[in-house]
Symmetry: C2
Subunit: 106 residues, 2 copies
């Protein structure tokens, strides 16, 4: 299987878990520190840290360290990238209807 698909899959894994979707929802009305997210999301501290790392690695979330705290926020660029990727993956090519793509069976 091609590498590009493995990488693309990685981006969408950001949105594949309820806890991460919950965290994203909390970030929609602004930057939050990890401790605030931890209060609202029903998982342990190490688990939240794990999920935030996946979100950050996917590019959808930014992390900013300040003193002992880490502030997270939604990345507009990362979100745009995910949206672009989704569009790219699901675009039906213009000549799709004219092709004889039925293959083995006709």
């Amino acid at each position: 299987m091609s590498d590009i698909h493995i990488n693309n899959a990685k981006v969408f894994k950001a949105f594949c878990d309820e806890t991460r979707l919950m965290a994203l929802e909390l970030l929609q009305n602004g930057e939050k520190c990890a401790c605030v997210l931890l209060e609202k999301v029903n998982v342990g501290q190490s688990t939240l840290s794990h999920h935030m790392k996946i979100l950050v690695d996917s590019g959808v979330v930014n992390a900013r360290k300040e003193g002992k705290w880490t502030y997270y926020s939604i990345s507009a660029a990362g979100s745009e990238n995910a949206a672009r990727l989704l569009r790219q993956i699901t675009t039906i090519e213009a000549d799709a209807e004219n092709n004889d793509n039925l293959g083995c069976c006709e």
Copy 2:
């Protein structure tokens, strides 16, 4: 965790696996029957069937049965829905910057 997040996660799981991304890519230039996909994707028949079911259940792919064959195609409506959902999940609210959302730490 709220039900809505579980369901949203389900839609994005369609894009979380390399084999499914490969299948989607093959469908971009038109409808294909399962046997054609099977030739190109490096998994067994039962595994492909499993993945196609996930794609169909997510709404991103249509299935059409004709005789002994099953034809799959990308669903424009399903793709649009996924794109809409992604936008909804990653939208930063207008007043996000003005909020005092830092919570415990200031």
